[in-house]
């Protein structure tokens, strides 16, 4: 397959990103009668099971920076973050009418209660609040989680009108193993030569994975890596940062661009963790439910919505990211009014302070308009890191 230019791939992703009608997902659904689409919110759902049911998992990540929210504000007080109100706006204005079911992972009380709003307002849709365990022992949290996965499987079987076999799930696990592998390769590539894979491009590439069928997304990442390697770009004198935001509500694309423009290469981040939540390949033989459960319990990423059993381990995922990606510092960008991100942040900060790792904190909403203060803050941070490391 001949290499496409980077620009073309990025434009394609940008088109998906900007399209709040989800045309690509609609096309997939319309291509065959009886197809079903399951929307899911951040941070993690086992997409393998949806895939095995022959359905399309569709990541719903709010309305973005440019959508005018009118009715959504009628559902939420001003002190609640923006993603639920723009998500409601999407639904009320018919942009999710083709979505057959919605999954709300257990990440915070706002998203949890959004599942109830869905139950009340969209009675004809499949609604699944997806509770993940906060106990990580096989015989306790594992049993609970395996049963939750089975309940999910049964729910989707009912919705789809067909059984989901273990073989199908194992096949889907293999498909997602490959996808995660390529996601990690993109991240590795960016960490090695961040000038060749700007953060905004990587972000858009991952966003495309929220909408496209997983197989297409995997191919897209392969194409991108080939094209990006073939088009070296000038290296700039930027510092290297890990971007942490417990990203449920998404940062405006301009924010990501602004950070890099201001002199910070983003060499790791925790946006769209669903694409690399499971840290190791999941076995593709045996009981797929147990395998997925074990992967969650023992080999999954750390995020504010997950309890850390050992005090000493708190923040270890972040510290490992800094080490592995060679980051000079951390930028915390929390969504305004986000309980998980904002309550977790002081503990993360304490870990960094103990190790003398520089960091800055900022807040945003998905529709934040001003980037000037962010550019200034990030620019100062980059300068101070450069001064600090050269002294």
């Amino acid at each position: 397959m001949s290499a496409k230019p980077v620009e073309k791939i990025v434009d394609f992703c940008q088109g998906i990103f900007e399209d709040i009608t989800f045309a690509k997902a609609r096309q997939w659904k319309d291509a065959q009668p009886g197809r079903k689409v399951i929307g899911y919110m951040p941070v993690y759902v086992p997409r393998e099971i949806i895939h095995a049911a022959g359905m399309l998992p569709l990541g719903i990540l709010g309305g973005g920076a440019d959508m005018e929210v009118i009715h959504g504000d009628a559902y939420y007080q001003s002190y609640i973050c923006r993603i639920p109100r723009s998500t409601i706006e999407l639904a009320i204005t018919g942009k999710l009418d083709f979505v057959d079911g919605m999954m709300f992972p257990s990440i915070c009380d706002v998203i949890r209660n959004l599942s109830g709003i869905w139950q009340i307002m969209f009675k004809d849709k499949y609604v699944r609040y997806f509770d993940a365990p906060q106990n990580f022992k096989d015989e306790i949290g594992g049993v609970f989680y395996s049963n939750e996965l089975r309940e999910l499987k049964e729910g989707l079987e009912k919705l789809g009108g067909r059984e989901i076999t273990d073989a199908q799930i194992n096949n889907s696990i293999a498909v997602y193993n490959e996808n995660r592998d390529w996601v990690n390769r993109v991240y590795d590539f960016r960490a090695a030569t961040p000038w060749n894979a700007p953060a905004a491009e990587v972000y858009l590439l991952m966003r495309a994975g929220m909408v496209l069928p997983v197989e297409e997304h995997t191919q897209l990442m392969k194409d991108y890596l080939e094209a990006a390697a073939a088009e070296p770009r000038p290296m700039r004198d930027n510092c290297r940062v890990t971007l942490i935001g417990t990203f449920c509500e998404q940062p405006p694309l301009n924010l990501i661009k602004s950070l890099e423009m201001a002199g910070c290469y983003i060499v790791d981040d925790d946006t769209m963790l669903v694409t690399r939540w499971l840290l190791e390949a999941v076995p593709t033989d045996g009981d797929p439910i147990d395998n997925l459960s074990k992967a969650f319990l023992h080999h999954s990423a750390e995020t504010a919505a997950k309890y850390e059993v050992n005090l000493e381990e708190k923040g270890s995922y972040m510290l490992e990211s800094i080490r592995k990606r060679g980051a000079d510092g951390v930028i915390f960008a929390a969504p305004s009014f986000c309980d998980p991100a904002l309550l977790d942040q002081p503990m993360m900060v304490h870990r960094l302070e103990a190790l003398g790792i520089p960091y800055i904190t900022m807040q945003y909403a998905e529709n934040s308009g001003q980037m000037q203060p962010i550019r200034e803050q990030a620019g100062t941070f980059a300068d101070s890191i450069k001064l600090w490391s050269s002294s």
Binding site: A74, S106, R112, I120, Q134, P346
Partner: protein, 431 residues
């Protein structure tokens, strides 16, 4: 030092409760008992009692500090040390108190807890709160994950998960800390006592069906529910308290009295409300006064179910199924129930208690309560045909109580009810 003014009228049950609370603080600060911190919703008081562990509830401490006008400084202190203005003020009031010497309401310093019982029940913030405290105290922390009753029912998987956690995690940790072996018969005995007090509690809740209502089930209710939701469920003291309360309320009914307020009995009951959401604590008395001054009494509220729901599906602690009943208690906590259930509960309250409507006090700190309340209001209006109203305050942050604003909305609401009543009686109000 005390918030209660000289002119506050207190009944015998209130005096008894005050004594009970101060006795518990003395127990916590005495240094003679192991101390566990835990949360009000779904708290496992009977289980802690099995190990002679004193029960310290940070939420109650935050409330106490708010009513003593101290929470504002504590919150500022926590924000100075890096906590966001956007997050829960219970947490910040607690952390600020810690940073300012950790003094209990009885004037003695709180001991460092021997364990943190992280009962993760109906509130995400609990999880982070105790991770933050653990960082400070570095004491054993045990997670009890209570799954959310997302489909309005308790599944076997949920109950089994909790029971296993109790057996494998919670009880062993308590045994280790206290040095006391778990005795299930001791637990059964406490649960038997819980159920006895719970019967009287439910009787109390239902008396506001009377017209006039002898009690206020929100402002007054927070006092009435105190012992059952804190360190007294399962004790003889709680049984005595609820018996006394029952006698007092019965007497009020016999005399045909309106609800009791800090300034005596209400002279007239003009409006009957159902209230959703916690109260504001920093201006509790001022807030309450806005209601009784206008003749409004709260006949039912979701906040009196915050520790556990007893009336809706008739839950009682069950000595014959001790661990399972603890699991069901946790699962049934109000904020652990999905929105359709909360809507049903409140709509039934409006109808069964013959209320004029639903008032929502939306709390900035508490997304578990607040996210979705506007949808709930519309649904309940639809189901009952009664008007709803919406006000916004905070739990313990004095910066978020705007008296003029709240009063304006309440007045408008009450007058709207008036106007509707008049329109119902005569033909039209205007040409």
């Amino acid at each position: 030092m005390n918030n209660s003014n000289q002119d506050v009228i207190k009944s015998n049950s209130q005096l008894l409760q005050k004594e009970m609370i101060s006795r518990n603080y003395d127990r916590i600060t005495s240094g003679q008992f192991k101390v566990s911190s835990t949360f009000v919703p779904g708290n496992l008081n009977e289980l802690l009692m099995c190990f002679d562990i004193a029960n310290n509830l940070p939420e109650i401490n935050a409330i106490q500090n708010a009513m003593r006008k101290k929470s504002g400084d504590f919150i500022t202190e926590a924000e100075r040390s890096g906590h966001s203005e956007d997050v829960c003020t219970y947490v910040k009031a607690d952390i600020g108190m810690m940073e300012k010497g950790n003094i209990a309401p009885n004037g003695k310093p709180f001991p460092d807890p021997d364990m943190l019982l992280l009962s993760y029940t109906g509130c995400f913030t609990f999880l982070k709160w105790f991770e933050l405290l653990r960082e400070q105290y570095k004491c054993p922390t045990v997670m009890l994950h209570v799954p959310y009753a997302a489909d309005g029912k308790v599944t076997k998987n949920m109950r089994d998960y909790i029971v296993t956690q109790l057996k494998e995690e919670v009880i062993p940790t308590m045994e280790k800390i206290s040095g006391i072996k778990f005795d299930i018969d001791r637990l059964r005995e406490y649960l038997r006592k819980s159920a006895q007090a719970e019967n009287d509690l439910v009787w109390m809740l239902e008396q506001s069906k009377h017209k006039p209502s002898p009690i206020d089930c929100y402002f007054g209710g927070v006092y009435y529910m105190g012992p059952i939701f804190t360190a007294f469920r399962g004790t003889d003291e709680a049984i005595v308290y609820y018996k006394l309360l029952r006698e007092e309320i019965q007497q009020r009914i016999d005399l045909g009295l309106c609800a009791q307020t800090p300034e005596g009995d209400m002279s007239e009951e003009k409006y009957r409300l159902v209230v959703e959401g916690p109260p504001n604590w920093t201006s509790f008395r001022e807030f309450w006064k806005m209601f009784y001054e206008m003749g409004a009494v709260v006949v039912a509220s979701s906040y009196t179910k915050v520790g556990g729901v007893y009336d809706y599906d008739n839950f009682r602690h069950d000595p014959d199924h001790p661990l399972e009943s603890l699991a069901d208690y946790c699962l049934g906590v109000y904020t652990n129930r999905n929105l359709p259930t909360r809507v049903d509960m409140l709509a039934r309250n409006v109808k069964e208690y013959e209320a004029d409507g639903l008032l929502i006090n939306s709390i900035k700190s508490c997304n578990s309560f607040s996210a979705g309340q506007l949808v709930m209001m519309r649904e309940i209006e639809k189901l009952t045909g009664k008007p709803g109203a919406f006000i916004e305050t905070d739990l313990v942050d004095p910066r978020y109580f705007s008296a003029a604003n709240v009063k304006n909305r309440l007045e408008s609401y009450f007058q709207m009810i008036d106007q509707k009543r008049r329109a119902g009686g005569s033909a039209t109000v205007a040409v």
